[in-house]
Symmetry: D2
Subunit: 484 residues, 4 copies
């Protein structure tokens, strides 16, 4: 059973992390470590496929944490060989209880040998593709987008698997990174706009692909470069990295929310430390939205770097006014007498002695539904805070993401239905300020802010400007922002 | 199976947390929440005993985290009633693979009804007591000290259980807090010197006892007071709290390491915030051991408050140079090619972009064996740190604790065999400084430092001055510090 | 983990049992009971698919006995609806460790709705079909023959599922019975020769299909008739049973080994009691191969009816000389000192007092490898038997079955490499006699024995005359018996 | 979870089987095999304790079948050493959900070393002893009678464990066999009357004790002799078997129901084959209660030997009119439409073709509540039986057993409240006859029947004459039969 997260519903959730290795002994062990380092990108389930000459393809898919399954000798010994890929995932928003067959990597047998594939992101025309494929006789086993790619590959007339994958990729639209493997090749793909991340590393004589650089660190791999938007790499131990361009060129639009929340602070994106960008958001925020106060206090752990930056820039002391329980987890049975905000208390507690009587600048990474924010504010006031000034390290999240992130329907997003002032009243704080979109771009290294005619990042969740048309969603009735 | 912690062997470990409630509906649910908040005091196993008029005593003992077992409806429904106590534990140092029968609370049936008991701490004459009881015909089922108390109670001639417990307590020596229950009474005891903590709370119409105040917060209980050293409280829903004094009066010697490491930073001890004491240790440390540097960086999470204090006092910026993996856990299979410091990498990663080229003040709470400290220093240097100055928020740990804390044998303690300078060389850092004992006392609120003729705390792990003679250990060959 | 059977390797194993119900409340509960009654046909794993209007298709596949999984309320409640099919299976001979995805029923989604299918038997051109389908872009998920049928259906141009199934069936060769379901229809198919069994029953207002009649009894269903060779029935609750003939007509060749061993003795095949046929085999055997002896003793339980018949016809007393342990199961760790024939002893023990000094007629159903037969003979001699006369209730098993029965490779079959006299010497018994093929046919109700020019049954395992060409096996190198 | 048996409530259940070995390598593996052979004596749970010089005492207790746990390498490797004892058990009648701590063997630590003990049977003054021990300060951990013995031993003043056990045994009353072990000695005890069985075997250089001889066969041990009533044997590998007599001599009264039902048919009791006794019961029954009929048919498997005897003596053909499902087990979810006699159908099915139109002599071992008997009769009539004549291989069971057998309260026993004729009407059979007590004694080898002034067996369940006063039960209100 996947763990339930007490207030996940108030965070956006990255749906996946991917990792692959070729050219090392017992590649699956490296993949297990890499997935452990990427666990923050998906906690519901994980899977690994490996290939060895002696045993062919082997796979294991499990619900739960990587550490709880892919640490067992017996399981890891069932995944031998020098080539392996793996995947960690969240369940998608709409899905019913997930089936283990939906856990990636997905495997398919072709006449020229098998292939396994895993992706992070979303194919925006998957429903249409699936409909077309079923009509032509394909039998689907899962609800995973990866299976679309496998079926498209199965129907390609190309004679080798990488070429079939190129064929398949030309039919799909969306924002996705892919790791795949044949019997001898590790393959990586990044979507034309490079919305989702993928990096290349060197480990010993072998190579690896990872969603983030933090997973290179855990296995002692050296960071080589990012896979470029629209690039497909085909890697063998013998011949190294070959680069292909299946897609038409496009201007990159990397997901700016990776900087704000998804990626780990110790990862490097676009040559820039995620931690440093977040700290700089705090600095920008202190400039844009200063306030007289006694203490800058983060909502741990995602608000911490921005709070450090805010404190440094403002000169207001930094302190841990909220303490996180390291053993957070499933939902407890609530005792008969109601405990106020029990869900939040399982994860967070106020450091009463520090808070009492103080004017608090509370820094969080984002506000999605606002449910948890209200509870934290309640806890601070209960503990005697004199004032609570809420500072948010991202602009108002007013639009759903259709590129592999689990967001509530638009009407559930606080910022989609309220003005900033209405939100302040709703949350009951003394002041509420979000960083501006320009400020966010500056913190991310764009000194002159957002280029509105041609934005440097995908910021659809803030701006409603979707760089790839969400075709399936429009078919389901989603209303795009009216052109201005 | 309890999780293995990659470098637990470089921390002291509190052996237990205890919690009890009376006078509420479904008391066991409160206990589960309380134990969850005390999970940092013992992660190996947990147990709850409850009593209801309809079903009598019921109990459940499980290996693993509270959240993984005591959140299940079916289990919690098997623990009905208005009165319950619970316990979380580490295994003791010397024990072989622990048996579930060693997991507390321990239960005994007397002719006047049953009683359950759980404790935090250590009975220093338990071996001698056990020997005596076996010779007189007692059959022991576990290796738990609590069972000694139960057998002593079984042989008391008193007619009610609290009186039998008083009889039993007069035979035991050591440092311990106890929660116990009869069919109608919740009982709490603190040892004569008050070495181990125990606090009283009020929840609705009922009462609760807890190792720390942070567990009162999670259930929304109000903090009433600390149980006093040497006090025994007998609590019923109807008559409230009755106080008894089974022991001879003595001068209190609370464990100072609870301030340094064991307790959660959001707990209040002796009217003082643990977080604030730790932050103040950092302030004292910055005064005692200043250094020119570019960044103050904690070893997360235990070094964080002291690092904040050090940064504030010294004016050197504070930053998260080391990032902790929230999903730490079991040991992974190491890939064939060796990964340097893999154990540490499972839990920590260096924030390379922040560290590179900087002179780092690295702040940790303590040094026990020094094994992890060396690995962290290696990782910092690998990431390009210019200098590493190690600052420790406690004095050198040179003596084992015999009062319920799992410490290595004396010869395994780095500070027992090396001078501070030898340690610096051994750890390979540019400078190494521990806070002084006086500085620690000042941070803990004793403005004039340690009263050496009559110390205000138990600091045996630093000073070698044991306020209670460790009789069993001396019999086993432990050499006390020579009187000076 | 499926149970290991100590001497399964000395028995042929039916690969599957199938069961389906339509038109009853909670059909899956009926299927669970039916599969329990068919457990002897497959002990490795079981699966059930059900359909309800509210929840669509639901499925559960489990390794192990039906009783261990499909008795749990939570699981059964996840399988609602008035229509369900199920399957129990052995693993096939050559397979590696079976995957749960190989456990039937197999499910496929078509544009006009889903269908689930399960079969008992073997498609003899499955490898060739699979190759063709993969080349045309199908992605296979399992190694099950049922998946071939699903993919053939997916590529049919017919507009409804039963018609697509007809299309698909016309492409497959072999010996198989099928149960399948759409959202509203229960479908049953028997191969053109009717090698594998399938019967129709009436339960309340609904209908059921089953491999054997014994599974009708357990749910209180009335036996209606056998599905005819080459017949396909499409059943709905409203319109009852519609019969279709997808195949060209052929002369029936029912599997005679169902009478000898596979079916349960309380089942009725072709209007004839399996028990009575087996008893009659014993009678024929006593006539064909009489011997002077003191006791007729079966190898329990499969030899029991023939032994009763032999005893009755010969006048020699019948007795339980070998006692079966009802709790047989997995393989125990062998103690260091070797125990002779430990595998057999886990399941059987000699009734020493009865055996000692007696001349024994030992009756078993068949000899496959002969390994167990030797061990049983050893145990009888150890217990003091004066003579052992071995009587086998089937002719020598000299040819592998390719119609859904797990047989060793031909060279492992004792009768393929030895004459009857060599077998006697090899087994070390005083005399050895098999029933003649004519005798077996007489016992099965064919008064004039086998019609050699046009045999009434499939007896390929005895005669080497295969009524359906085993195309895949011939491609793999199997040598058919030379035409005489 | 222990398996539920659909109609256990209509059989008496032996509560336990015991087994011990000394002087062999890896003794626990032998014990596992022995317990597997004794599984019919207790299916709820099993336990093994072993001792090795290197690791001391080790133990494992598990719910469920021996084959499901004590076949795993990892578990068995945790039970090393040349000396081990084990136990299989049913739960006792009155107990609530059993706790694992109630599973034997029971272990106790004494000042001169530990001892483990397991028993089969019942201590009839256990409640009184337990009360006395608790008053004197003993803490009980389980509800097992074995623990009484351990506590009595703990309070003995003897200097070695066997002598302490002698002291303890002199305080207990009842009918019990015991296996026990110290660090070097295997100990066996049989109660003064020898009500419960215990046999001695030789295996290689070592020795073993077992409830029945069938468990000697499985490990290839030679039967040496029965432990005598009132005898205690102390066995070491070096010095062999030493015999002690702790009890006052008494006339033996072996449990006659072991012959009727409890023991396995391949066991030898008192030099007599259990199978042969049961067959002879059938012969006696045919003489005492002849009937005109077409078929003698057993209720499998317990009625089979008597049915063979009845058929042989009467000349009526023997046949398997009822077929047993080998995969019986837990209770299935009953489908909404009621299935008549579903519980019975899970285990038994009528062989319709054999039964239809015939007059049946139905032979069963005993009638307890009569619930199952009625259902079987219904099934036979449904299948078209012309007449059903019920013949029972034991006298009417009219009294509960207090010597380690799980019997319903007296008022639930059919024979306690009805005459034979009333029972016939209640069961709805054409005739009903039980064997006479004299006939049973003759079948068991007592040529002149029962010696009423001094019966050769314990037959309290038939006669109401209890050879040991059931003191605890009398205190609880049980009414003994009035002296005549």
């Amino acid at each position: 059973m996947p763990p339930a997260h007490p207030f996940d519903d108030d965070k956006l959730r990255e749906e996946c992390g991917i990792f692959g290795v070729v050219g090392v002994t017992d590649a699956a062990n490296f993949v297990a470590l890499g997935l452990h380092a990427l666990q923050h990108r998906g906690q519901e389930a994980g899977g690994i496929v490996s290939h060895s000459a002696a045993t062919g393809f082997n796979s294991a898919h499990r619900f739960g944490y990587v550490r709880d399954h892919f640490t067992k000798q017996s399981l890891m010994e069932s995944l031998p060989g020098p080539l392996a890929i793996g995947h960690v995932r969240y369940s998608t928003a709409g899905s019913k209880a997930a089936a283990i067959r939906d856990v990636q990597p997905f495997f398919g047998e072709f006449s020229m040998g098998g292939a396994a594939i895993a992706h992070n992101g979303n194919i925006t025309n998957a429903i249409a593709l699936r409909r077309e494929l079923i009509e032509r006789g394909s039998i689907f086993q899962s609800s995973s987008d990866s299976e679309c790619i496998i079926h498209l590959m199965a129907r390609s007339l190309q004679r080798d698997i990488p070429s079939r994958m190129e064929d398949a990729l030309r039919r799909v639209e969306g924002a996705f990174s892919v790791v795949a493997m044949t019997r001898t090749k590790l393959i990586g793909v990044r979507d034309p706009l490079g919305v989702r991340p993928l990096v290349l590393g060197k480990v010993g004589d072998g190579w690896c692909l990872s969603s983030e650089t933090c997973a290179l660190d855990i296995i002692g791999a050296d960071f080589v470069r990012e896979i470029e938007p629209g690039e497909m790499v085909v890697i063998t131990a013998e011949d190294g990295v070959e680069s292909v361009r299946p897609f038409r060129p496009a201007k990159p639009r990397f997901c700016i929310f990776e900087h704000v929340y998804f990626s780990r602070p110790d990862s490097i994106i676009g040559g820039r430390s995620v931690y440093e960008t977040r700290r700089q958001i705090g600095v920008e925020l202190a400039r844009e939205a200063p306030v007289e106060a006694d203490l800058v206090c983060p909502v741990p752990d995602s608000g911490t770097p921005a709070a450090i930056g805010y404190a440094h820039e403002s000169g207001i002391p930094y302190g841990m006014g909220i303490i996180r329980n390291q053993y957070m987890g499933r939902t407890f049975i609530e005792p008969t007498e109601q405990i106020r905000n029990m869900g939040v208390r399982l994860k967070l507690n106020v450091n009463r002695a520090l808070i009492a009587g103080k004017r608090i600048v509370l820094v969080d990474d984002s506000v999605v539904r606002g449910t948890t924010s209200r509870k934290i504010k309640d806890m601070l006031l209960d503990a005697g805070a004199a004032e609570v000034h809420f500072r948010i390290a991202s602009p108002p999240t007013a639009w759903p993401c259709f590129y592999g992130v689990d967001t509530p329907q638009r009407e559930k997003l606080l910022a989609a239905t309220m003005t900033e002032d209405e939100m302040r009243t709703h949350l009951g704080v003394d002041s509420l300020r979000f960083i501006s979109l320009d400020g966010l771009y500056r913190a991310a290294g764009e000194a002159s802010g957002r280029n509105d005619s041609c934005p440097q990042y995908c910021d659809a969740c803030f701006s409603g400007e979707y760089p790839v048309e969400p075709a399936d969603m429009i078919e389901k009735g989603f209303q795009m922002k009216a052109a201005e």
